[in-house]
Amino acid sequence: MDYLLTEEQVMIRDIARQIAQEKIKPVAAKYDAEGIFPWDIVKILAASDLCGIYIEEKYGGTGGGAMELVLATEELSKACGGISLAFAATALGTFPIILFGTDEQKQKYLPDIAKGKKLAAFGLTEAGAGSDAGAIATTAEKKGDYYVLNGTKQWITNGGEAEVYTVVASTNRSKGARGAAAFIVEKGTKGFEFGKKEDKMGIRASATRELVFTDCKIPKENLLGKEGMGFIVAMKTFDQSRPGVAAQAVGIAQGALDLTVEYMKERKQFGKSISSFQGLQFMLADMATQIEASRALIYACARMIDSGNSKVGKDSAMAKLFASDMAMRVTTDCVQLFGGYGYMRDYPIEKYMRDAKITQIYEGTNQIQRGIIANHLIKETAAK
């Protein structure tokens, strides 16, 4: 389908596609099996100017937004949903600074991220606070010119690899969600350590670690927005970033479908290519249609964000929900179409199914997304 992309968007998509097919695809299986963080790919993304495609020109980027981010994420994810995450999770960690940072904070952190010299990460989840983000137990106590952080963040994508972390902590636990605040924490700050690298089902080329804060002193200038705004920072960040997760899901699904169509043309049973069987053709048609519908929803949502419309919560939840559920179904069917070979690690398809699963879980489980969508619906009808 022609989405009427700008010339620059076509260039971004083409560059990302070339990197994915020529550089990521050959290493995807190895990095997945051995859990190798894709620093070599990050360098290529940086040299190709892709790291700054959602960052303003005055901060070293090329001035795009959500649309550019989803185009690149989708292409990279076609080759590997784990490797693409070094890029996409950096965007998640950067959005709080883009959305709520002061000019000084942006000047200090965005240029290095735009150049690909530094990766970023976002730290919200804790052992006891996942979907219930208001229950965070990490504290930030103000002492003179500093905040002192204590607590542990869990399952942080890019943890340990990133240099810049945006972390949500509570300055007043008695206020619950309203007592939270967001901070920028640099790797190397005294009292900021990392837990072990998690051993995951999928996205295994991506690093997931705990962030451990023990009397970690950060300058008060690192507060993003104001005290009490932490939960808003997190929600507004997710509103922007969910199309990115959705794009990762679409990329994974499309990558799996592309492999499956190729395989079905080659694979012969009953003396014919299995692509000639109508029952299987119907499965292909359904998958392609679902992928395209997801893509259309994501692009519409990304364009809405880029138009400056701030009421994107419901739509970005829909995009994330629809695309990730679709990706799980499609990749499961792709494994089915590969038959016994599909279940074998020697073939690339089972990895897509493992990688797809996380997109239904992180950046808000799909149950939480349904809750967000329903809340918006109920509020909208109440307002009428």
């Binding site: 620059e8 260039m11 083409d14 560059i15 990197i19 020529e22 040299a47 190709s48 100017d49 090329t62």
Partner: protein, 261 residues
């Protein structure tokens, strides 16, 4: 350090077919690409520029569509692009092409180094690079796999041979042709692509070249293509089996007999 890179637009031979009637390439519907060996030439030039400063000018002789190849070179880091194009150049063989390119290089002006890919994947002659050097009357080092040292007016390079490599030193300006072992070409960058989109490509026609009109195009091409044919596939060999002594005797007999030693 000012560098001129000569490139060629070629059909993507990974999916090219030969017309069985005419024995020529079926060009319709085949995508055009930058000759893969020239990608290494572009990369080496851009790396030298990044190290020593200066300008990388990329040049091609071909039809108007060859502009695409030049724009791709710009997206990979070249600074300027020159298209050498004229009906008068049609039918050029490697001799006339080398002559024309050398005239264009002289027109571009001062340069320290000319880099070419070792050969084009369509003609496979590996003659144009050396030919340009000859017409320019400058030294050449072919099949370069590594530039060991390069400074103001001196280059030392490793020249790949079948047995190993030669180390060759030369004054500058000089022309080198490169093999794929020399580097790993980068992928285009977004800023490079945007530059490539906008850049104005200089055009040189026959009248701009101070060239002898009789040395251009078909008229200037001593090569005459008499016949094009597909060589018949090699017939299967004959395997001799048994003890070494017996086999060698039978081999000698065979060579004496049918194969008329």
């Amino acid at each position: 350090m000012n560098i001129i890179v000569c490139i060629k637009q070629v059909p993507d031979t990974t999916n090219v077919r030969i017309d069985p009637e005419t024995n020529t390439l079926v060009r319709s519907g085949v995508q055009s690409i930058v000759n893969p060996f020239d990608m290494y030439a572009i990369e080496e030039a851009v790396r030298l520029k990044e190290k020593f400063g200066g300008l990388v000018t990329v040049i091609t002789m071909g039809p108007i569509q060859a502009e695409e190849a030049l724009r791709e070179a710009i997206s990979l880091g070249a600074d300027e692009a020159v298209l050498v194009s004229d009906r008068a150049f049609a039918g050029s063989d490697t001799w006339a092409t080398s002559y024309t390119l050398s005239k264009a290089v002289q027109k571009i002006g001062k340069f320290d180094l000319v880099i070419c890919g070792k050969q084009a994947i369509d003609g496979d002659t590996a003659q144009v690079g050396p030919g340009v050097a000859a017409f320019l009357d400058i030294p050449q080092i072919t099949f370069v796999k590594k530039i060991e040292e390069i400074k103001d007016s001196f280059i030392r390079a490793e020249r790949m041979t079948e047995e190993g490599y030669d180390i060759i030193e030369s004054p500058l300006p000089c022309l080198i042709t490169v093999v794929k072992e020399i580097n790993e070409p980068r992928l285009p960058s977004l800023k490079g692509k945007m530059r490539a989109k906008k850049i104005e490509i200089k055009k040189l026609e026959a009248k701009d070249l101070d060239a002898d009109p009789d040395s251009l195009g078909l008229k200037g091409s001593p090569t005459k293509v008499v016949k094009i044919f597909t060589p018949p596939p090699r017939k299967g060999g004959q395997m001799l089996e048994g003890e070494a002594k017996d086999i060698s005797e039978r081999l000698v007999d065979l060579l004496k007999g049918d194969l008329c030693l």
